[in-house]
């Protein structure tokens, strides 16, 4: 317990609180800018069991803000979950750390969350968050939304039966391209550190049963140093809170990647029909790669990949052989 002595001294924790943390089980979904800071904080705080899930591998432009990775991880193209777990075990070998390299989907989300006392969101898209929201609501598990972009960040504790749920904030997946991403508008490295630290601190409070748990949406913009706490009401028309419909878990709202036979190409089709402004999307993407707009489709090339995007939100992702990478590229550059 010596390693946690400074934390034990904090009035609301003490020896019994630390024992509680050592018995706790946490799932961190996503291991990028938010996930690395969350995992680092929780491992050092002595959460007894931490599982990290991520589908991606480490790239050079991650190092600016993804605190557990280094140039060797980039060189080896290490999967983020494994690289993070390796570092974290060297930080605290007395707890259990598990890493899974996989995409969180409607097929595996319940299995992933079922043993967790709390789920920490560090994903990069709204669709996965809506899925986590359904699964956590169904299994009565609290989760903590966190997101960042540019100089802005926001976080909210989602406690089933107590607070509004994520569908009260985002009732359905918006049209592809309508949500800016870190890969299209950038991100400062201070904002994910800040939001992730708030998330991990709220997680500790929830695990301890502390009464000072935040019940509002906390919004921070570091550009104008704006900190706002906004109460979020449950929506009267929320399909999850009001009607108990698990539409994302039941796969009615999710986009489905399809590997096209014999080709290095995956097709992603949004489940809901939607209209995408390819002209607006082109303006966003031309800052980060080559684009050409032909009126009926938009071609976008970045690194070794090419995305062909149609006005109904459908996209062919060329240069990939697996669905996970295709979904990751779609979330990064088109954004849902």
């Amino acid at each position: 317990m010596d390693r946690y002595s400074r934390q034990i001294l904090v009035a609301n924790i003490g020896e019994s609180g630390q024992q509680k943390l050592l018995r706790s089980r946490v799932l961190v979904v996503g291991c990028g800018a938010l996930g690395t800071v969350i995992a680092n904080n929780l491992v050092r705080a002595g959460i007894g069991y931490i599982k990290i899930v991520d589908r991606d591998y480490v790239e050079l432009d991650n190092l600016q803000r993804q605190m557990l990775f280094d140039e060797e991880d980039v060189e080896k193209r290490m999967p983020k979950a494994l690289a993070a777990a390796d570092k974290l075990r060297r930080i605290n070998s007395s707890i259990e750390i598990e890493a899974e390299v996989k995409d969180v989907t409607q097929k595996n989300v319940e299995e992933l969350i079922k043993d967790a006392d709390i789920v920490l969101d560090a994903t990069d898209n709204l669709e996965t968050r809506l899925l986590i929201n359904d699964a956590c609501f169904k299994h009565n598990i609290s989760w903590i939304y966190g997101a960042v972009i540019s100089s802005c960040g926001m976080t909210m504790n989602i406690i089933p039966g107590e607070t509004a749920c994520f569908r009260c904030l985002v009732p359905y997946v918006p049209a592809p391209g309508s949500t800016p991403t870190c890969d299209t508008v950038g991100v400062l490295n201070a904002i994910p550190s800040l939001i992730a630290s708030l998330q991990s601190n709220e997680a500790i409070k929830i695990l301890l049963g502390d009464k000072h748990v935040n019940q509002e949406l906390l919004v921070i913009d570091l550009m104008d140093n704006r900190f706002e706490k906004i109460p979020v009401r449950k929506r009267d028309d929320c399909p999850l809170c009001r009607d108990g419909k698990f539409e994302y878990l039941d796969k009615k709202g999710l986009s489905e990647p399809i590997k096209l036979c014999g080709r290095e190409m995956v097709q992603i089709t949004p489940q809901k029909e939607m209209e995408v402004s390819l002209e607006d999307l082109k303006k966003k993407l031309e800052k980060v790669g080559d684009t050409s707009y032909m009126g009926y489709l938009l071609k976008f090339s970045v690194d070794k990949y090419e995305l062909i995007i149609f006005p109904d939100g459908r996209a062919f992702v060329k240069g990939v052989s697996d669905k996970e990478t295709a979904r990751s590229l779609y979330a990064k550059y088109i954004g849902v």
């Binding site: 996503g30 709204l126 968050r129």
Partner: protein, 55 residues
């Protein structure tokens, strides 16, 4: 009438092609979610915010 308006710095577009607000855009008056049709009063603080997705 003077209303203080704060728009999320990353918010470029708020409406889809049908003129509907994107589902992830929220309007808050004085820090509380505004019901549709809510009228503004002098001195109200209007915030237009985008629920973001990066991580």
């Amino acid at each position: 009438m003077e209303v203080i308006i704060s728009v999320s710095t990353i918010l470029k577009t708020k409406y889809d092609k049908q003129g509907e607000l994107w589902p992830q855009v929220h309007i808050f008056i004085n820090g509380e979610q505004a019901p549709a049709g809510e009228l503004l009063k002098d001195g109200d603080r209007l915030s237009i915010m985008l629920i973001i997705a990066g991580g």
